[in-house]
Symmetry: none
Subunit: 260 residues, 2 copies
């Protein structure tokens, strides 16, 4: 999916922004960059510095004279627009854009262009009117002009989220440890109360909701089994100290986390 | 809501990234910036150029020496992390982070810190373990390192989307107890470690990730201040028992042999 999304920069003035765009694209898994009539040398030391290893995208970028050439093969063209124009256009949010991509790209020849304008003046009305829709990144109305590469970053991020949600993405490995069972938790609470009595912190005759509070706190954390073992080890050591004359009473008096 | 979200940059090397961060923040309506031990002069021509009109945020930024100072008053601390670490920590997506904000900031003194590490090496394990959760911006696994300002841009964008969806005044939770602040939590962890040493459960020379595990467990529960007071009371009683020759240890207990 991501290989069929093209980023189009029109009339860019600062090579650093082209480099920053390449980095943002590559970070999010996009690769197709087109430059329309750039107002600077696209590949400079600034480009390479800001690209931070992604300058291959600039080398591979197609440079053309007009928006039409850049998006000729695209089935959906969306222009990034900071302002509402005199002639209202279908306006979507970055999130809605992302959600729309799977359907747009379901067709065998589906291809989407996301078009970004000049640093100082954005897209012209003529350019905006060549777009199927406009996408507006929500901003502080008092300070609404995003850096070009930052705007690309936000839209590319939404593209990646959609791609991850809709497949092709490897499922993230769940490295969850087994949670403590109800029974293990109850043994822990019994052990805890006994220990708190032994150290003189808790008086069952005047409970003051102490155990209830400790239960609520502990259960909220959803302890893993290994964590509970650590806590019980602490209790056993504490108990030993409080009742030196008795053998350790915990079911598992030996200390310790089992390493990783 | 947005005014109670702090962006924390640790050990930043490039003034341009501080400027880019300020611009990204101001674009999204954030204003609270803290710099921890920057490795560059924060305010240079590069800063001003990349800030593009938002350099007031850098002027107003607080510069401190440690993460603890930067987030002492925060009730939720989230670290931006590119990689999974040896000890997995609660990991959330940027979107889930955004969705969580209204509830987090509903408490009267709720304050959220989003913490970003060094350009070259990110956050240290010690820094990551001071966070309640880690947020990972999904990236191309072959090219996963986002530009610092771009990472701030993505999270700030999610903050703004949430703010737009939820309106300005979050409902006060009627039964909300104040959560423990970062500073209170750190005092607790210091007290806990000292006590575990005193009872012979913990050997700092062979830490085996014990404190990291206890941190992760405790932070996951998001302790209320009152709960933390209970836990510290337990520790004080335990310490008294372990060191009967010493006077009872209070809030500012005498330091253990290892210090903290």
């Amino acid at each position: 999916m991501l290989e069929r999304i093209r980023i189009v920069l029109i009339g860019t003035s600062h090579p650093g922004n082209i480099g920053g765009t390449a980095r943002a694209m590559h970070n999010m898994g996009l690769a197709d960059l087109a430059l329309v009539a750039p107002r600077c040398e696209p590949l400079t030391a600034d480009t390479v510095s800001r690209a931070s290893g992604a300058d291959a995208l600039v080398h591979a970028a197609r440079t053309v004279e007009t928006l039409e050439e850049a998006v000729a093969d695209c089935t959906l063209v969306v222009g990034a627009s900071a302002r509402s124009r005199t002639l209202p256009w279908p306006m979507i949010t970055p999130r809605a854009l992302g959600e729309r991509l799977p359907e747009e790209l379901a067709a065998a020849d589906g291809r989407v262009a996301l078009v970004f304008g000049r640093e100082d003046s954005g897209l012209t009305n003529a350019e905006l009117q060549r777009c199927h829709a406009h996408v507006h990144i929500p901003t502080n109305p008092d300070f609404s002009s995003l850096n070009l590469a930052a705007a690309v970053q936000v839209l590319a991020y939404e593209c990646r989220l959609t791609w991850m949600a809709h497949g092709e993405a490897p499922a993230e490995k769940d490295d969850a440890q087994p949670l403590a069972s109800h029974e293990e938790l109850e043994h822990y609470f019994t052990h805890l109360e006994r220990t708190l009595i032994a150290i003189g912190f808790h008086d069952p005759a005047q409970p003051r909701q102490l155990m209830a509070r400790l239960r609520r706190f502990t259960l909220r954390a959803r302890p893993e089994r290994m964590e509970l073992n650590i806590l019980r080890g602490i209790l056993s050591n504490t108990e030993k100290l409080a009742r030196p004359e008795q053998p350790a009473t915990g079911e598992r008096a030996s200390r310790g986390p089992e390493g990783d």
